[in-house]
Symmetry: C2
Subunit: 393 residues, 2 copies
């Protein structure tokens, strides 16, 4: 078998493991079990659509991480992780979606065999994939262990991107630009929305600048007209209508790294209220990007946006940004800091966020967003370079 085509070199994975171990030490964890597929991939390189069954990575205070999952997926682990065969553990297929046997029974037995059945064990209590039953099964089968909530422990280590990761983000951003160029070129009144999506997904996967495209953690969302008041509708077969706005929230993806980029398209002459919202969003983006510098907080960026909105007569207080990078469905965000008033996360160079001001009225929605990189000094850099405006055709 050929060696895995790892996205990053070993020093990069060692850096990540050191960061996680330092935090485990600070929290006095002997063992960390992570089920979040993004965290699994970030630490080990594991890649595959197998997260619909229980799987995870076991991190101890010493030694290599252990990939643990369904036996048939161990073949995928061998092809994608940097650790050797001795660090790949598969459980019997009879545990799969079987109410009478839980995969966590196998995990508990392995933790026992590692001599850590009475350890302090971190688990991701509020993550997709680590279910309530998974937790209760571990608790029952490891009665002497102390299970500690380690939700976000790894996610927070992912906040500052390495130069190698930023290279991946730039490739994802180039794909996002290519996707925007494509839908803007092809969209016209009367076109069925699913036909437009066919082109978007094709552009996403073909990639850009010689780099192939991966699947994004969220499918394209492109509601039109009054439906655009609902931010998370996907698509249907209806025709695009004149005198309506459609916003396109989507992201290119390069080897699981994302750089979301939203724009809004109006066919005809936009109503004045949309033009006013556009002015507020563009000014708010500029204010937020100017505020997004090392030493400022995530809350400062939100405040810069919301204060600008207020000056334009728009009251808004929902979350307007989140960190992005490596991700798997159902979310391309990293689920740590938020651009939200009062969020005290201090910005550092190398952090990347999807800064996403949106204005949703009862009868239309407008999104103009940027993926931004916190620089060594000065305002943040937008990774994509497309006009920051309401597009009109």
């Amino acid at each position: 078998m050929t060696a895995p085509d790892l996205p990053f070199d070993r020093p990069e994975y060692n850096r990540r493991l050191r960061l996680v171990r330092a935090e485990m030490e600070a929290r006095e964890l002997d063992l960390l079990f992570i089920e979040d597929p993004s965290n699994m991939a970030w630490l080990t390189g594991y890649d595959g659509w197998s997260f619909y069954v229980h799987q995870g990575v076991i991190v101890r205070r010493t030694g290599n991480p252990i990939w643990w999952g369904r036996a048939m997926d161990a073949a995928g682990a061998r092809r994608t992780v940097w650790m050797g065969e001795e660090c790949i553990a598969g459980y019997d297929d009879s545990h799969v979606q079987n109410p009478s046997k839980h995969a966590m029974e196998d995990l508990a037995a392995r933790i026992h065999d590692l001599g850590l059945s009475a350890a302090r064990i971190g688990v991701e209590m509020d993550n997709y994939y680590f279910s309530a039953r998974a937790f209760l099964t571990l608790q029952r089968d490891l009665p002497n262990a102390v299970l500690v909530d380690a939700t976000g422990l790894v996610n927070w280590q992912r906040l500052v991107k390495s130069p190698a990761e930023i290279t991946f983000m730039r490739r994802a951003a180039a794909i996002s630009e290519h996707m925007v160029d494509g839908w803007l070129d092809r969209a016209e009144p009367g076109m069925a929305k699913n036909d437009l999506v066919a082109g978007i997904l094709s552009d996403a996967v073909r990639g850009a600048d010689g780099h192939w495209g991966d699947y994004a953690a969220i499918v394209p969302m492109l509601p039109s007209g009054a439906d655009a008041a609902a931010p998370h509708l996907t698509w249907n077969g209806a025709a695009l209508q004149p005198d309506e706005a459609t916003f396109f929230e989507l992201s290119g993806c390069y080897r699981r790294y994302h750089a979301p980029l939203s724009r809004t398209l109006y066919f005809g002459t936009p109503p004045d209220e949309m033009r006013r919202a556009e002015a507020a969003v563009v000014a708010g983006l500029e204010a937020g990007i100017a505020a997004a510098r090392p030493g400022a907080t995530a809350g400062d960026v939100a405040a810069a946006l919301f204060d600008t909105f207020a000056a334009h007569g728009i009251e808004k207080d929902s979350r307007c940004g989140y960190p992005v990078g490596l991700s798997y469905p159902p979310d391309w965000g990293e689920r740590t800091a938020s651009f939200r008033r009062g969020d005290g996360t201090v910005l550092e160079p190398g952090m990347t966020f999807h800064f996403m001001p949106g204005v949703w009225s009862d009868s239309w929605g407008l999104e103009i967003t940027e993926t931004i990189l916190i620089r060594e000094d000065g305002p943040a850099e937008a990774l994509c370079d497309r006009p920051r405006a309401l597009f009109v055709k």
Copy 2:
């Protein structure tokens, strides 16, 4: 606002609610909270990519179900569910991915307001999306309630499809056929795999027979050569190679309904061992389909396949099929019955399964699968009509 474009009529939703209520009664549940997005959609019509935050449907013994989720997604609920405004409940955005506030605090308060804080409440303990923390928060905030595991309660009611659902499955199957025709036509040695996927996704979304295509709950998986020993790898930018097999596991999707169809393509002259595997899989499919009739069990289908495999010298005992229908990521299976030796689920007309014999050696993988419908009598019907063979080019 225009009325939601519901996939099904009200009698169909009433039928579903009656089935769920009967099971609630049998289990003496006063309230059922379901977070599985497939169950939410099946019961209410709700559709949107918002399942990356906590949301759900509340079912009581009387009255309409209540959609509950993030306030901004209530706008999506208004556009997609059959219930009225009084049955849509949004929680404040400050609960979103905020370690200091959990959305389940809001849900617990609402259950209290419904007068059901001391009720027997069913929750989906082993589902993606209902996290360990969600469970503990409900338990803490509803100390007088009895939380009962209702994993799969709704899923089991979905097992027998109505005629309207079978129509959707047939439309999905037509899209699956269209996808297979497309990749078989376009694939050639030297082609970059992501370029091939671009066409597959485009075909999937354009749809077939005038019916638009939705996103499938799993992205295309198409590993080649030795990588095909790993069943759940997705794709990369590598070129397709001569003298290698690639299996394509994918599904068309019509309004969230799936009909997966896998085939395998070999460039050149397949080795004898692959031809032998092909013969076993084709004979096993035939034997399984012949066994898949009303009154037989899911285990009987698996036994028919595995006995045929054994007669061909192949030992296999992993799960070889599961129910399919309406689904959201990360799994297009319904997670109830399994085609697995000993599964006692009795087959009934209207059940639909992805019957998926796969043979994976250390150096190649072969999948030829069918989505099948249990008929009133006689063997099952394969919903797709494409040659049941190893494709060779």
